[in-house]
Amino acid sequence: MIKALRRAAFAKVAFAAVILASAPALPASAPSAGEPAAPMRRLTPEQYANIIEEVFGNSVELGGRFEPDMRVEHLNEVGSGKVSVSSTGMAQYNAMARTVAKQVTHPANRHLMIPCTPASAKAADDACAKQFLSRTGRLLFRRPMTEREVGIYVRAANVATASTGDFYTGLSLSLSSVLSSPQFLFRQATIEADPDNKGQVRLDSFAKATRLSFFLWNSMPDEELLVAAEKGELRSRRGLERQVARMIASPRLEKGVRAFFADMFQLDDLASLSKDSTIYPKYDAVVAKNAREQTLRTILDLVVDQKGDYRDLFRTRKTYLTQALASLYQVKLINDIPNGSPDTWQEFTFAPNDPRTGLLTHLSFVGLHSHPGRTSATLRGKALREIVMCQKVPAPPDAVDFAVVQDTSNPVHRTARDRLTAHQANPVCAGCHKLTDPMGLALENFDGSGAFRTKENGVEIDTAGQLDNVKFNNAAELGQAVYNHPATTSCVVNRLAAYGLGRPVVLSDREWIGTLTKEFAAKGHIVPALMQAIATSSTFFQAEARPPITGEREAGN
């Protein structure tokens, strides 16, 4: 018994040693303390899941929870460079690592996932452990493991094998160490001396490949990209362009486009969006999940499949619905499948006389930017300004009296427009509300859960308004105004650039952003083409993150 406990304790020590030993190894040319460091970005939950699926297959379950992402400058991807891992988060990563590793080494899976068989399943086998760990490690670390790293993980596997008497248990424990290491959990922009610019550094080839793959595919580099990095092909303009063109043409681009637009439109917030079920009985967690997917499918269809004009997202009538969403939108959608089956996705085009046009009329916009029990023209207008047009709306001053705005059963001010007009009698409030409310009020036909209505408290809703002096009468015309507004174009360029760089766009990026914006507009606002232009630019591969200068505005506005 004591012997067994000693064995277990030894295995634990060996496991801990592996984690400690796998701290990032800085190259000789790394900047010294105090200089701007190349950023590390924590994997998002989706990226983590994508990698596990691509390395081990889609049957592997993660079995854990992720720490929340942090949105910085409107993007989680920018925030991913500013977050760490808490002790609770680490415990979750460890739990997931062990869960995944157990499945990989399970007798039912090992012949598929482990490329070799040990001489004895009860004893250590250096060669087989090395083969598996170096091959898997190359994918998980997005670069070849160093000899030292391989040695550590093989030794850890051997120690665990010796104490447990099972090769696969040893391998599983070692693999879980790999999956818990910062090299896996963080995307590291490793740098090297730049031979063309003395005293300067540049991203090494694997960091370039990683940056490309996460930007375009929201996942790790594939084999071809890793090989291209190993051969140095990404150093040449031609080699880089060839790889980017291949990646843009790949079906995996959908994952990248999904990730970007989910981030830009803040669709992850739908997961925690709650509504008063008495007021909005059709809204529930399933509908919220469907709403996110509806918008993403609409975007993918227009942006990737049709190679359409990005701005058409604000006036397209074509979308994708489930039966539950269709009932919220009050349209017929027949499900020709056996009873009890999950809802299916179907392409759907709203009729020309239907008030629903464009993303702004999706539940993912009108519902997300509303309160739990009422609409909010202000939140909707603010979201339009900040998310779609990249314009800043000042925060409300302290101690504002919102009593009239919140009183949806006010007998005098019966519509949101009436209540907001009354609220704006306070001149302190009026300034900002002028920026947001005229657009938000155009969406008042959609209640807080996104359902269509023509009246509020028995009074006909007036949806007329104006966006920067362009007048409109309803949501469809607002969509057209957004389509025409130059900020709509420049904003998506800004956001996509910041998303790729992992930091906010700063003043010194102005020229680059200006060029990208012009080309994007000239070529028909095609998003994959914009991604291609960003991914082949030198700015995209800058080795050093430049923090935004205080007071700088986002370029292009």
Binding site: S277, T278, P281, K282, Y283, D284, A285, V286, Q323, A324, A326, S327, L328, Q330, V331, K332, L333, I334, N335, D336, N339
Partner: protein
Amino acid sequence: MVRKSPITSVRALLALAPLLLAWVSTSASAEETRHFVMSKFWHAANNAADDCPGGVNPKYPELVPINLANLGYSAREIAALLERDAASEGGDWENDELTQILFYRARINGKPANAYMHPLAVKDPGLKAWGGKMAYGFDLDGKGETPTSFTDPEAGVKGVKHELARVYGCNDQFRARLRDGSAAGLFFWMAIKDAAPAWTISITGENLDKGGPVTIKISRAMEPIRYNGNGTARADMSYRADPDPRTANNVYAGEVKDGLISITRPGPLFMIQEPLLFPLFTMHQFNARMKMNASGVLEVLIGGYQPIDEIYHFCGSANMEAEKNFCAEPPGIYHLLVRHADYDRDPATGRNRAISSTYYLEAVPAFLEPTIPVGGASAGGTQ
């Protein structure tokens, strides 16, 4: 007089065909149809406190000694049986002495028989009937007010025939206010709602908001009703119409007047419901009255003469479980049904086989995809 040959007539009709088609399509386009799916269903009760003089009928524990006495057991034997039953662990009903006696308390040619399958072979325990004066429903026989008829408490209709209210009214499991539903009604509805394909109500007319003649169709969807996260029925869901031709004839002439939608020409109803508890739901002289409430829910009363065996199936098929939990004393209920049946006299026995009854249901707006009935598009028509 020159008679046109059949061929000439056909030619004339063919020549007129485009005009006829145009007229038909114009007529069709002027009409609108609104569909609803049933979201609640139970018998229409209108009970109030103390409306059963002397109290309601005894419940299962009190009925056990009565039923045993009816079987000839002495007071001492009954006490001993109950004592043994209390001491037993229960659960194994096939070997449970008391359960076996009660289950087989019917007597056919002096031999024990299943009481639930042969309720008339059980001595009538003498459950009392309800004697209220206000009950929901319709003047089904058109005879107006009679000494035994009711007055509808909301519509004010006189001469209402709803004998089922008398059968159920003094049994706790069936007592309720209209919109609350009784314990039995709720049990039944909760049991079938997620499994049985939803009933549909389709109302067609030229101006459903203003009023005028309408056509009312009662049918079924292929899917059960869907619910919101908070348990309420989900409005505006899409369903496919059931192509079963047996429901195709449930089409009735009606009218919209003062916001009330009603059938003006009653006829037979044939519906298929949930296989276990209510496999068939048929009515003679089917009638309906409905209105939209403030929440956008259609509140519907349906009534007609319903075969008592179809009603009893709900209690009889669940046998002892029904007796213990939700159906009062099933053989006693059957005796009441027989006593109060008021339609469809069986010439062989001289007994009525159907009873006037009213049910309350709610329905929410829905989309309904038409399907061609099995057997062809021509199946069905207005009553």
